[in-house]
Symmetry: C3
Subunit: 109 residues, 3 copies
């Protein structure tokens, strides 16, 4: 089995949750935040059979949307050569970040 | 070392936490939710020595209880052939879902 | 790639978040709790290239601080030979617990 961990933008989470339910893929959701830009997101964890990984990835991909959004940086941005940038900036947010990691044992008690 | 990740029903979490403490197994807890049926649960993460995995699994197993509960579905259940099922349904909840995954490096700073 | 999971004391999280941002290391943060002593902490997840693991570990190490703190035990401490210890006790908290685990697939949609 594999653990599929998907970090999804808040706005896309409900659609993905429905899609997973309709396909009978059990999932566990955790409230999370992006570090740098403080965007609220949801981390989905799904333990899936090796043979289902590609299908679950396709479900995630189908609901992930990138959108432009104004965001206020929460940290000083010296790395970008700006000493005191405090105006909101337009960034592309959303989409999905997905990791597939190995499961050595899976149990349900 | 192995990472033992256990998703436990809310009601069993306190008992497991006590049992882990009495056995001096450090754990990190995250509030989580089941996807499909929206049950509130707790995700425990424990980094344990390979030789302790079976013992930690036995502790988890000993506190996991399955129970029947009325739950209101949060998503449309077309997959089950019902177009507009909105009554609460009785389901078996609880128990524990447990994954054992490999740790390549473990550090405490 | 590797998944670096770091469990950090609340008080150190902001400093680490800034440091990761300045080094352009994306991170996802989850609110978490220590089991035994109920300390509030933050779990950081970072997917990093194999070649960057050591550098990211050095960033985490540089912000992790151990400190003494009074804490009220949340569980009975029979394991320590005390039947009814209810006074706060001084413990060393903080620091960082860090796990490096393998990533088999990494996708951004
Ligand atoms: Ni497998
Ligand atoms: Ni090991
Ligand atoms: Ni790799």
């Amino acid at each position: 089995m594999k653990l599929v961990t998907a970090i999804i933008q808040d706005k896309d989470a409900y659609e993905l949750e429905n899609l997973l339910a309709k396909n009978q893929v059990p999932t566990t959701k955790l409230a999370s935040k992006g570090g740098f830009l403080k965007a609220q997101n949801i981390t989905f964890m799904m333990a899936v059979k090796d043979s289902q990984v590609d299908y679950v990835l396709s479900l995630i991909k189908s609901t992930a949307k990138r959108r432009k959004q104004m965001i206020s940086p929460s940290v000083s941005l010296e790395v970008m050569g700006e000493e005191s940038m405090i105006q909101p900036i337009e960034v592309e947010v959303g989409g999905a970040t997905v990791m597939v990691t190995p499961i050595e044992q899976f149990h349900q008690y």
